[in-house]
Symmetry: C2
Subunit: 253 residues, 2 copies
């Protein structure tokens, strides 16, 4: 029987669409070596995976040329539907692991399967008895949480809030009530071009005593975190740099 390969969860940088960071500031050397050695990748996006591997190759030569590297994009729902891809589509991506080769899973930014696609591939690996190994890299959610000074003993990440203003504002008040009841920090993300609108809504909808933290450009030199009560945000509004990925955290008091 062939020894199975592993599914390696490979972190990517957080500099998508912003200034490029130094790979060695956000990825351990051992992780870069593992990335350089892989021949098979399951990717959220093939193009950004090739760009990532070109950056890796400057530090550690790739074990084979990019042309000889197999990069397969994750299956998506059929066009015009929200049907999940069939289990067979995920298993197909794991064939190299069944044949003894390690397979890397990578998303466009941060850790795969955390606020990103890929969890169904990890689940398929467990079903097939393929070992899963997560490697260390930047996660905007925990970096934002640590930077916020809010409760790190109990926290929730809730993804995106609704776009429509009425539904969005109701959701923000619901998250604040949940935060108060569970004493739990609530974290959310937004598409960069809607950051400004979400920040305004948070400042308007939340109670003055609620603590609101915004982190932008995490791991980048232009990045930062502002954590203040909503009352202070109202007195001194402030902006998030344009087109900059941001994470929002709130804790009701």
């Amino acid at each position: 029987m062939t020894t199975r390969g592993s599914l390696l969860l490979m972190p990517n940088t957080l500099d998508l669409g912003a200034e490029a960071c130094d790979l060695r500031d956000v990825l351990p050397d051992g992780v870069l070596r593992r990335a350089a050695a892989l021949s098979y990748w399951a990717a959220e996006d093939a193009r950004s995976t090739r760009a990532f591997l070109k950056r890796v190759a400057i530090i550690h030569p790739l074990a084979q040329t990019l042309q000889a590297t197999t990069i397969t994009e994750l299956p998506r729902a059929r066009k015009g539907t929200t049907d999940a891809p069939p289990a067979s589509a995920w298993r197909q991506l794991l064939q190299p692991a069944l044949a003894g080769h390690d397979v890397g899973l990578i998303s466009e930014a941060g850790l795969p399967a955390v606020a990103d696609p890929g969890a169904l591939l990890v689940a398929a690996a467990h079903d097939l008895g393929i070992p899963v190994c997560a490697m260390t890299g930047p996660s905007s959610i925990v970096l934002a949480l640590a930077s916020s000074g809010l409760n790190g003993q109990s926290f929730a990440f809730v993804g995106y809030v609704p776009q429509e203003p009425g539904a969005r504002d109701a959701r923000l008040r619901e998250l604040e009530a949940l935060s108060r009841r569970l004493r739990q920090t609530q974290l959310m993300i937004e598409t960069p071009y809607r950051n400004e609108a979400l920040l305004k809504a948070l400042i308007t909808e939340l109670a003055p005593s609620t603590q609101l933290s915004v982190s932008w450009g995490l791991t980048l030199t232009a990045g930062g975190t502002r954590s203040n009560s909503v009352a202070e945000w109202r007195q001194r509004p402030g902006d998030i740099p344009e087109r900059c990925p941001a994470v929002f955290a709130l804790l009701a008091r």
Copy 2:
């Protein structure tokens, strides 16, 4: 006016009490360089901080001797009380930053202020206008979440569950109900010597269709993740290696 230093949130390894990992597998080279350059530390534990700096020094020489490095432990509640230390105690630790020096915050394992002390120091830094910069390193919570294959678009970390069996089992059923209602992965940790008891309780209390993932020894060669339905855990129970830190995740279906 003196330019202020920053509060650097410095990740530590996850190998506390277990086999030692290679620092270069879990900490980016740029982060190790920043650690080697610091003269002031606020630490969960001074002894483990010195041990960490000795390991860093093998890779990058420290800017000054360990003897010349100021390591101050975080203030704790007064003995026999749960009173939070006064704000002045936190501000004292940040004096070097006000005088222009960077200060590192480090815990015994993982990221400071995430399932660990330190959030009050971060909050004090924001109050004083001291920039806060979180650096990339291993977080057992997100590594366990990524490895679980459970929902990474919505998740909560709830810390420890009660020790007393009746209260613990009620809490586990409450978390399962919350997971079902919010479609949210619920993550928890336990003191290693109680891992076995918690695993048994999870397998007994949760519904057969609930997905249960256990990750142990994350970032270590002996580490692993098992993710199965509770029905499968009942058929084939399995153990967690002794004295090994573990993270538990559940998702109701």
